[in-house]
């Protein structure tokens, strides 16, 4: 038993990616299609009503926002659904019995969620680029926001999965927190078009900075300076990560 101890992290990451990839029709193709439907409906319904950045059409404006929304929702869905399913079916023990530390479990679930979020996001661009070619003025900003945002929601998914004891509770988390925050993150509008009160409320939503900053990567225009947005989104990600690690270390609702 004195063989050098390699980490179980790469395998857990591989398993978490394989888990969604095996059902990629539901986990990747379906959200890409949903996003395209949003795009179709909203671009037609709102194109003449919503004012956005100068020199940017509403459809162009909409695509990065919707793509980011898909990234956020799918990053959350991946870790949260994996953990709740494992808890409810009881197969979480196969993760809890091996010599995996809290940090390794965290990193594997987080990275798999980011992969899922990013794959869906890329899928949205791959499907729309033929119809609406977008400029990518600041690609590094776009990549940075995609990573931080998917990470932020990946950690939220881990927290929700650990906390929920039933699918209902996870659904509540998703419907009453994640969905409102993503819809009110400014995917469909520029916050400058909102009344001052709602502008202020929007600025309390960390998802808003993810959407706004991500859009900056395409148009080099945004409601908030991208550096500030990235700092806020990163801070939110860091706080959520710290909470998640504490939960995993304490064994909260996992190691009874």
């Amino acid at each position: 038993m004195s063989t050098p101890a390699a980490s179980g992290f790469p395998t857990l990451l591989k398993k978490e990616v394989a888990r969604f990839w095996k059902v990629s029709f539901q986990t990747v193709a379906a959200p890409v299609l949903t996003t395209l439907l949003y795009l179709l409906v909203f671009s037609h319904a709102l194109a003449s009503h919503v004012q956005v950045f100068p020199g940017v059409t509403y459809v162009e404006f909409l695509i990065p926002g919707l793509a980011m929304m898909a990234v956020l929702q799918n990053a959350f869905a991946n870790s949260s659904s994996s953990i709740i399913q494992s808890k409810l079916t009881g197969n979480m023990i196969f993760i809890l019995l091996p010599p995996l530390s809290a940090g390794e479990i965290f990193a594997a679930y987080l990275l798999a969620s980011m992969v899922r979020g990013l794959v869906v996001g890329i899928g949205v661009f791959a499907a729309t680029m033929w119809l609406v070619p977008l400029p990518v003025r600041e690609p590094m900003w776009a990549i940075a926001f995609a990573l931080v945002a998917s990470g932020m929601l990946g950690t939220m998914g881990i927290i929700a999965g650990i906390w929920s004891e039933k699918f209902d509770q996870l659904a509540a988390f998703q419907n009453f927190l994640v969905l409102p925050l993503t819809f009110l993150a400014g995917a469909f509008y520029s916050v400058h078009t909102l009344p001052p009160f709602w502008q202020a409320v929007s600025r309390l939503n960390p998802f808003f900075y993810a959407v706004d900053g991500f859009r900056y990567g395409f148009f080099a225009q945004s409601d908030v300076a991208p550096g500030a947005s990235l700092a806020i989104a990163t801070a939110a990600f860091a706080v959520l990560s710290w909470i998640t690690l504490q939960l995993l270390r304490s064994g909260y609702k996992l190691r009874h």
């Binding site: 038993m1 101890a5 179980g8 196969f94 019995l97």
Partner: protein, 302 residues
């Protein structure tokens, strides 16, 4: 020598239930050890603490000298646990399940051992079948294989034969016996007491979160159970010479304690001398079930 499993003053409370109320015991390396007790005695909680699935409120537990909290990596590498409930990941095949499980232990090239496990547990034909398609007994065997992928020196089986058919039970025990013979320490819980009696050299009995008996199987049997001669007498009653310790079971049946085979001959000779005809007789060996019942009732041993 380091104990394979050592727990000291282990306590664990779930709400108002004291699942473990200060459990201490040690299992030596190479032992075949039984952990017995009624449902709710704390056996599964104890096993969960050993595997890190539950965190104790107080006390310590170690596997091969590695504390399950402070040195969790070494402790978990040293133990393979087969949980009581049949659980599986419906996304994967049998082989994928075992490959992932190996990987979680940091073992990347474990194919040969996985093949051996599949062969030994009669799972080879199902290696590429999805877990969902397996019967309950097969899923349980996959769980045994999962517990063994990292070749742990200590193997803990939590009621591995509950609801398992006779053939599978026997082949499973043969496999576990072989593992024990190869040097693995086995800790077993079961409700089939005859299995524990046949297999295990030492037994701990638990009740209400405490160890109420801990000794070799032999000594427990000697202290709490006895060899009994049952005779059915025709018409007449028992000669006074045999009356001490005898119990009238009714219908002409009498129950006589006999320490060894010599006593059986002796008792039969007395009956013959007294001219009492024996219509039927049987000798029963000491049984763990009797030991278990007596200990759970709190009766003192001899």
């Amino acid at each position: 020598m380091t104990a394979a499993v050592e727990v000291r003053d282990l306590a664990k409370r779930y709400g108002r239930v004291q699942a473990l109320g200060g459990v201490s015991l040690a299992v030596e390396s190479g032992e075949f050890f039984a952990l017995l007790g009624p449902n709710g005695a704390g056996k599964t909680t104890l096993i969960s603490v050993l595997g890190g699935l539950a965190l104790a409120d107080a006390g310590s537990a170690s596997i091969m000298g590695h504390d399950v909290r402070a040195d969790f990596r070494a402790a978990r590498r040293a133990v393979g646990i087969v949980p009581q409930e049949v659980v599986f990941d419906p996304f994967f095949t049998v082989r994928e399940t075992l490959e992932f499980q190996s990987g979680y232990f940091g073992l990347r090239a474990n194919g040969a051992w996985i093949d051996q496990l599949l062969e030994r547990l009669a799972l080879a034909p199902k290696a590429h079948a999805n877990m969902r398609s397996l019967s309950g007994g097969m899923k349980r065997r996959v769980m045994v294989a999962q517990a063994l992928v990292h070749r742990p020196p200590v193997i803990v089986l939590d009621e591995p034969t509950a609801g398992v058919d006779v053939e599978l039970r026997q082949s499973l025990w043969q496999f576990v016996r072989d593992l024990n013979a190869a040097g693995h320490t086995i800790v077993l819980t079961t409700h089939y007491l005859e299995e524990a009696q046949q297999l295990c050299s030492r037994i701990a009995m638990m009740r209400d979160g405490r160890v109420v008996a801990l000794d070799s199987t032999e000594r427990l049997l000697a202290a709490f159970s006895e060899r009994v001669l049952r005779v059915k007498l025709e018409g007449s009653s028992l000669p006074p010479a045999l009356a001490g310790g005898a119990v009238d079971e009714g219908g002409g049946w009498w129950r006589l304690p006999v320490a060894d085979v010599g006593h059986v001959e002796n008792a039969l000779a007395r009956l013959r001398e007294a001219g009492v005809a024996v219509a039927n007789l049987e000798v029963s060996e000491p049984e763990l079930e009797e030991v278990f019942v007596k200990i759970m009732r709190g009766e003192p041993g001899r």
